[in-house]
Subunit: 202 residues, 2 copies
DNA sequence: CTTGACTAGAAAGTGGTACTTTCTAAGCGT
DNA sequence: ACGCTTAGAAAGTACCACTTTCTAGTCAAG
């Protein structure tokens, strides 16, 4: 199909599609002449993926590019689908020098105590560290025990996440990444609803 | 204290503080002359709150303004702290006309079936509706039963949330709002870590 | 075979957000 | 009295996600 058809089918303007092509979010079509290219269903799907990640997922172009790179990678080491996916999800953060010695590595030691697998330079743990620290700064104190309570609950969430991925599937990476991103707003809304439900009836 | 001291204490530039004053995120100081005003600890705290919500919470100025308005409101109807807080958190969304009749009100009926309190025009349910629909569009199918599984887990999260709020506290609204926003990145990181832990050892 | 719609590709422009800079007129402080 | 600071307003900046405008070429109907 031509670019105008692609635009109609995806409800994305031709200009935006060209922008995605330039940005490498969308592979070029098969060129049939110097001014015409042929696009197919894979392009439709890709555009829908980009829109889903940017609109609902709230991701920026850079994050989407990383995710797409992972999805497009030919048969990655299946062993570490999750690590790969999570690497794409956690953008690199420049390691700011810690100013308070009191809470250095608090997240890391909590994760270790919890028995969850991690290693040095774990970007997800770094994220947790920052988020936890930010809570403290904002006056929302979270003790280790409370974190454990949250962890118990979130393990349940993760169990559902993992169960939803068909093991050994061809597009496991895609499902993990897209599912992780797209379900976040769902879980967020559920949390608000659950807060209500809990507080209404003890 | 003067504005320069406020800037030093909060590590926020004088220019930015003036910007916050203009935007109504920060109440003006007590003016001591036409070119000098006196700020106090409440200003320090307020600025830290704004930074926490924008930096870690990822909120925009508009959302922060809504939240601040709620926090500043004098003794709101204590009955509905949560509703007020959640209203501030869910920015207004223009109700887009639904195009597919198939899934209209899917979230609403699921919430009703779940027995969670809601009503017509519930913004949180609308959010869930959108997020759920976006998942389907992106090829991440979520059946009602899976949503129930997530809901069970998230109820646990909410229990911890609710337990952390001292009942009848003076600043309950503040704690609920700030806690809800600031803990989101924490929970997000926990989810990734839990996914790993679960998938590694069944 | 012409005419109008479409296309690729690149460059420049736009609107929104969150500040930052620059300005003036006026204290303040040593 | 001289430089440092301030309030307040206006204009400017950087970044992001597009959108517009351009050229040069192609295609399809009449």
């Amino acid at each position: 199909m031509r670019i105008s058809v692609l635009a109609t089918r995806t409800e994305v303007s031709v200009g935006t599609i060209k922008f995605y092509l330039r940005e490498g979010l969308l592979p070029p079509g098969r060129q049939t002449s110097r001014t015409t290219a042929e696009y197919d269903e894979s392009h439709v799907e890709r555009i829908r993926l980009v829109r889903a990640l940017t609109d609902a997922g709230g991701l920026g172009i850079a994050a989407v590019r990383r995710i797409i790179a992972v999805i497009d990678a030919p048969d990655p080491q299946r062993l570490d689908v999750l690590a790969t996916a999570q690497d794409a999800l956690t953008g690199r953060v420049d390691p700011e020098p810690d100013d308070s010695a009191a809470s250095v590595g608090r997240a890391h030691s909590w994760v270790a105590a919890r028995g969850w697998p991690t290693g040095p330079g774990d970007r997800v743990v770094e994220r947790l560290e920052r988020a936890w620290e930010a809570c403290e700064q904002a006056g929302v104190h979270v003790e280790d025990s409370m974190m454990d309570d949250y962890a118990d609950a979130v393990e349940q969430v993760a169990r559902v996440d993992v169960a939803a991925v068909p093991p050994g599937a061809d597009d496991a990476v895609r499902r993990v990444v897209v599912g992780t991103v797209m379900l976040e707003p769902v879980l967020s809304a559920l949390r608000l609803l659950a807060q209500r439900a809990i507080s209404v009836q003890g």
